[in-house]
């Protein structure tokens, strides 16, 4: 894997040599996240978020397995068992709040990780599969988060399961049978709850598996970097350990402090009060919205209000799923050979407009489906698709990019006078030997 100058694993003790000769696991770890993985030396803090997402998954799995020791997936007892966790189980409140807010933080770091990829062109050759596997992880995360949200069997849980499975009801011909099949009945009920629990327990391990593929695929060409220039020589890289374990360790500290702050001081800030009311199939909460991390998609879903050849409901569902499926084609929608947004002045402007557009979509998705928000989400939805389908392809052919540095080490160490210095946006300003 990776570069020819990668440090080879040398066991430090006879015991490790004995293990390594029989099961080269220490060698695998050393080459993947140890001193044997050379990483571009110019990574900025945006490169922390992959590791943070991995750790967020570990937090979810650990707290989730524990919650499953106390939770009962039975419609008459599920809500009560969650309250039992909150009130009776030793530190159960802490574990549940960690799990609920951990999910939100998992999405925060994953979205930043994705935006990092969008800005620095991480999806471009030769990392297309890394990008696509990442999107698979995102889809699995969404499914897992949704099913986990159903488990407390509160009002929002119940109606989320009804609404989201209702999306499948929009599929022509087979929609209704599919919806009934998903629910195991005509409405969310005991079979729904029990199968969602089973799948909610399963999917995180599937995610972990796809993450291994994601990292494996990444380690073939090696990590990207803020200049987007390929690694050319040993001067361009540093061993992952200790340089990036230390940098990721610092980022992890910040991440955990923020998570702890929310868990201890605002544990219900990101949730909905309605979910502390037991599920009632006869009454829908007056304002039903998903968790914040689904808001942009929810806005796209609701933006379609007119039947045009196909029913509006089907358009909404297609557009919502399409907004992610579209990203699978991104490596070919943006064929510009320059990876990093630092050297693409026009792309950079449109990138920030896209971020703004997604924030607007998120803002609309959290509000009631009323004017003017419906109209705003319609415009924002249109722009979202236009960005990827029209603006990016045109941009990649017409844009005048800035000159790239000759190499990573040159851009970092002493080459900034000799390169066309990009605007100091990315924080890649190097430390100089003259300090």
């Amino acid at each position: 894997m990776s570069f020819p100058w990668a440090e080879e694993y040398r066991p430090k003790s006879g015991f490790m040599r004995w293990i390594d000769q029989r099961l080269p696991l220490p060698r695998l770890v050393y080459g993947a996240v140890g001193g044997g993985y050379p990483v571009p030396r110019n990574l900025n803090y945006f490169w922390n978020f992959g590791v943070l997402a991995g750790i967020a998954l570990v937090i979810q799995i650990v707290t989730g397995i524990i919650l499953a020791m106390h939770y009962v997936p039975y419609d008459q007892a599920a809500f009560r068992s969650v309250e039992h966790i909150m009130r009776d189980v030793n530190q159960g409140w802490l574990l549940r709040y960690l799990h609920a807010n951990g999910a939100a933080f998992f999405f925060i770091v994953t979205y930043i990780h994705i935006f990092r990829g969008l800005y620095y062109g991480s999806y471009k050759a030769p990392r297309e599969l890394v990008w696509m596997l990442g999107l698979v992880i995102l889809l699995l995360m969404m499914a897992t988060a949704f099913m986990g949200y159903v488990l407390p069997w509160g009002q929002m849980s119940f109606w989320a399961s009804k609404v989201i499975t209702g999306l499948f009801g929009a599929i022509p011909l087979v929609g209704e049978p599919v919806q009934t099949w998903l629910l195991g009945g005509y409405a969310p009920d005991q079979p729904t709850l029990n199968r969602f629990f089973s799948l909610h327990y399963l999917l995180p391990f599937v995610i972990a598996g796809v993450i291994i593929l994601h990292i494996w695929a990444l380690h073939i060409p090696g990590s990207g970097n803020p200049t987007g220039v390929d690694v050319k020589s040993p001067q361009d890289t540093l061993p992952f350990h200790p340089y990036y374990t230390a940098k990721d360790g610092f980022g992890l500290g910040v991440f955990l402090i923020l998570l702890a702050f929310v868990v201890f001081f605002a544990p219900n800030y990101l949730g909905h009060a309605d979910n502390y009311i037991p599920a009632n199939p006869l009454s829908t909460p007056s304002h039903i919205v998903p968790e914040w991390y689904f808001w942009p998609f929810y806005a796209i879903l609701r933006a379609f209000t007119v039947d045009f050849i196909l029913p509006a409901k089907l358009w909404g569902v297609l557009a919502m799923f399409g907004s992610i499926i579209l990203l699978f084609f991104l490596p070919w929608l943006d064929p510009s050979p320059v990876r990093s947004g630092n050297y693409r002045p026009r792309f950079r402007q449109f990138f920030w407009i896209l971020i703004l557009d997604i924030l607007v979509l998120g803002w609309c998705g959290g509000l009631p489906a009323e004017e003017p928000y419906v109209m705003i989400s319609q415009v924002a939805t249109m722009y979202y698709f236009a960005h990827f389908l029209i603006i990016l392809p045109i941009l990649s052919w017409t844009e005048r990019t800035l000159p790239l540095p000759n190499s990573i080490s040159e851009s970092v160490l002493h080459g900034e006078e000799r390169e066309a210095a990009p605007a100091d946006l990315s924080g890649v300003r190097p430390a100089t030997a003259a300090e």
Binding site: V62, H70, D88, V89, N90, Q91, L238, G249, L413
Partner: protein
């Protein structure tokens, strides 16, 4: 940051790295950071482990109150204490005498009736209904059940005989029936699960 990047690609803290006297700044940072992380990780383990201990609703039933006023001499009741059977037996004077007639030193698990009952209340024999052999429920608490060769309890699983003080007299069980902690609130009300 006072980090200096050398042209050979190594990073070092401070300009002077050749000094081998004492700790370098980087050593201090390293030890401090790893120590904080270690303490944090150890602290995190506490809730992860402690959550498996009995929860508040379980502990709420860890002590029970039993009204003894309806239990006549010679009768016994079976109730549930910490999800296990509890035998409360009102001994007759004859049964007390039978228990006191044996010298404890001859027994497998030497204990006198006085040691197995509350002070001044030798007529109340309160024991767990769990055979000390392999955990079956002995017979003899309900009317008409086999009380064994010594008139106390008889475990049908492997034939352990307990006497009128709940002591093992014959059979494979190694110990006397366990006496839980209990305290008399009044003459007729006892709290089981609470130290006297």
């Amino acid at each position: 940051m006072a980090t200096v990047e050398h042209s050979d690609g190594t990073l070092a803290a401070g300009p002077d790295t050749s000094s081998d006297e004492g700790l370098r700044r980087r050593d201090f940072i390293n030890i401090a950071a790893v120590s904080v992380a270690g303490v944090g990780a150890a602290t995190t383990l506490y809730p992860l482990v402690n959550q498996m201990n009995p929860s508040a609703d379980v502990l709420a039933l860890a002590a029970i109150e039993v009204d003894l006023s309806a239990i006549q001499p010679g009768q016994a009741v079976k109730t549930i204490f910490r999800k296990q059977p509890l035998f409360i037996r009102h001994l007759t004077p004859a049964e007390i005498q039978a228990a006191n007639a044996v010298s404890p030193s001859e027994l497998r698990d030497p204990q006198s009736l006085v040691e197995r009952t509350a002070a001044g209340k030798p007529q109340w024999l309160i024991t767990m209904g769990v055979c000390t052999h392999l955990g079956c429920v002995p017979l003899g608490a309900a009317e008409g059940e086999n009380k064994g060769a010594y008139g106390g309890y008889f475990c049908p699983c492997h034939g352990s005989h307990y006497d009128t003080a709940g002591r093992i007299r014959k059979g494979p069980a190694p110990k006397n029936l366990e006496v839980p902690a209990y305290a008399f609130k009044s003459d007729t009300v006892v709290t089981v699960g609470e130290e006297a």
